[in-house]
């Protein structure tokens, strides 16, 4: 099965019933798959006129009660930012798949990159927070898409899946799990009377129950600052509470959201910190180093945002050298690693930005 197909299957397994999108390489197979499957499962596939409309339709469908998603790549992901901000502010569960290709702009449409790392986190204006996941295998494409929907529904937040082109287009052995085998989470629904429903009054877990448009619960969702009832509220105390709540509902569940994997990292004096396809190059490089008697290991970041600061601090703090290979020019993730480990740490960046993957040999060259 292909990575892109596994993400479509993961979405459907998680209960997605709505896909709106504008096909773009290297994500098109997701739209293609959904165009075939959605009708069969009683869902909706909408071919939109552009990516702005795609994310708008996804937000509308989600507020109407459906688990909804879209898939795109860099140029389309840029167009989606404004409405993604609305989804953050309106606390609308949704999943966006950004299969990363080499930019800037339309760049090299068929070639891989990991250049959207900071855009995933900061693409929207105005001090907000989202969740971003990045798979490195076809199996992770499936399971992490299910996770993405679970996080979106549980925390009422947009979740972005951000594989690179290699992982989106790669095929590997994979058999779909049977229904019930993997946990699927649905959003909290209100149980009180519709008259007293407050769509933005967060429970102790930081998240308010979400009713569906078209139900007895009539409510207002606004991108502007709002109170617990969803209506406009410009009180500074309310604004402070709202902004903090949008961040805190993710921060307080940080340990549940941050997913990492390690490969012989416990005793590593050379620690490779990687995500997406470069995880595989890093694992191969670490194995080669172990053969040479060097204690090398890999910390794979599956959750890119929120950043795995504790894991990086713990393993990176013990290592003599940390290497961060990534398919971008400046080392977007390496900067985050540096923030955690401090200016004195030996952090080496291995970057490719020519549309080609980083090989294990490229990584080995960083170690003299």
């Amino acid at each position: 099965m292909q990575g892109n197909q596994a993400m479509s299957e993961g979405a459907i397994y998680a209960g997605a019933k709505f896909f709106a999108g504008y096909p773009i390489t290297p994500s098109s197979e997701i739209a293609e798959e959904c165009s075939k499957v959605m009708l069969k499962i009683g869902g909706v596939y909408m071919q939109m006129e552009d990516e702005i409309a795609s994310i708008a339709a996804v937000i509308g469908a989600s507020l109407a009660g459906a688990k909804a998603f879209t898939a795109t790549s860099g140029p389309g992901f840029s167009l989606m930012q404004e409405n993604l901000g609305l989804a953050v502010m309106g606390e609308v569960p949704c999943v966006v798949i950004d299969v990363q290709r080499r930019g800037p702009s339309t760049g090299l449409s068929t070639k891989p990159a990991q250049g959207d790392i900071m855009q995933l986190r900061w693409g929207r204006h105005g001090d907000q927070s989202v969740i971003a996941l990045c798979p490195a295998t076809v199996s992770e494409c499936f399971f992490m898409t299910v996770k993405a929907f679970n996080f979106a529904e549980k925390f009422r937040v947009p979740v972005i899946m951000a594989p690179d082109e290699i992982i989106g287009h790669m095929r590997e052995n994979f058999s779909l799990p049977t229904p019930g085998e993997v946990e699927v989470i649905d959003r909290k629904k209100p149980s009180g009377s519709p008259e007293n429903y407050l769509p933005f009054a967060a429970d102790k877990d930081g998240v308010a129950p979400l009713a569906s448009y078209g139900s007895d619960y009539v409510f207002h969702v606004s991108s502007s600052m709002h109170g617990p009832d969803g209506c406009s509220n410009n009180d500074p105390a309310n604004a402070a509470w709202r902004v903090a709540q949008l961040h805190r509902k993710i921060e307080m569940h940080r340990d549940e959201i941050v997913i990492t994997k390690t490969f012989s990292a416990e005793d590593a004096e050379i620690l490779l910190i990687a995500f997406g396809a470069t995880t595989r190059s890093s694992r191969a490089a670490a194995l080669e180093l172990r053969k040479r008697g060097v204690r090398a290991g890999v910390l794979q970041l599956i959750t890119l945002w929120p950043f795995a600061d504790k894991e990086v601090a713990s393993l990176g703090g013990r290592a003599k050298t940390v290497i961060v290979p990534e398919m971008n020019y400046g080392g977007q993730m390496a900067g985050e690693v540096q923030k955690v480990l401090g200016g004195g740490a030996d952090i080496r960046r291995v970057n490719s930005y020519n549309g080609e993957i980083i090989t294990p040999q490229d990584i080995l060259k960083a170690i003299r």
């Binding site: 290699i166 590997e172 052995n173």
Partner: protein, 183 residues
């Protein structure tokens, strides 16, 4: 050639539209039918027809960590551009099959030319060049059993297309097995 080889790495290179990604997928599916672990990747440009296009397949009995081919066992090149790119591997004793219909003939111990495209065309289906050359490759290096590929073809194609592709596979394997020089 090692009969009990555990891992095979294959490159299928040519031009967009020759069906090489599809033959990579089919080779992978055949290996999966035999219980193997497979990774298939691809690389191509923005054109749906033309431009260098390639598929890579790794077949192993255990987890494949790095997904790209590093030590190919066999390379198929269906265009001059693809052959030029991979010809240095011939010096490393890697078997290279190339298409004499579309690339200039070369000499070299590991370089074997067949007019794959012309034979496919003579069979009445230019589009089956991918399966024809795949047949030749598995006859040369037993990465998968022919029967497994037959099963994959039967699953993917129906009617006339099925018939033509099975014939292409047979013709491709015969090229190696019988060493026929009938063209």
């Amino acid at each position: 050639m090692k009969e009990n080889q555990k891992r095979y790495e294959v490159i299928l290179a040519g031009s967009g539209g020759q069906g090489l990604v599809l033959s990579g997928i089919m080779l992978g599916e055949a290996a999966i039918l035999e219980g193997k672990v497979v990774v298939q990747t691809q690389s191509y440009g923005i054109a749906s027809r033309g431009g260098l296009s390639l598929a890579e397949v790794i077949i192993d009995q255990e987890e494949i960590i790095y997904q790209q081919v590093q030590e190919p066992d066999i390379i198929l090149t269906l265009t001059e551009e693809a052959l030029e790119k991979y010809i240095p591997y011939a010096e490393q004793q890697v078997v290279i099959f190339y298409d004499t219909t579309l690339a200039k003939a070369r000499t070299g111990a590991c370089l074997t030319g067949y007019p794959f495209t012309r034979i496919a065309s003579d069979l009445g289906n230019l589009g089956s060049v991918n399966i024809l050359s795949l047949g030749a490759m598995i006859a040369k290096i037993p990465m998968v059993k022919k029967e497994s590929l037959v099963r994959v073809i039967q699953k993917r194609f129906k009617g006339k297309a099925l018939e033509m592709n099975l014939q292409a596979l047979e013709t491709g394997t015969d090229l190696i097995r019988k060493g026929e020089q009938t063209w």
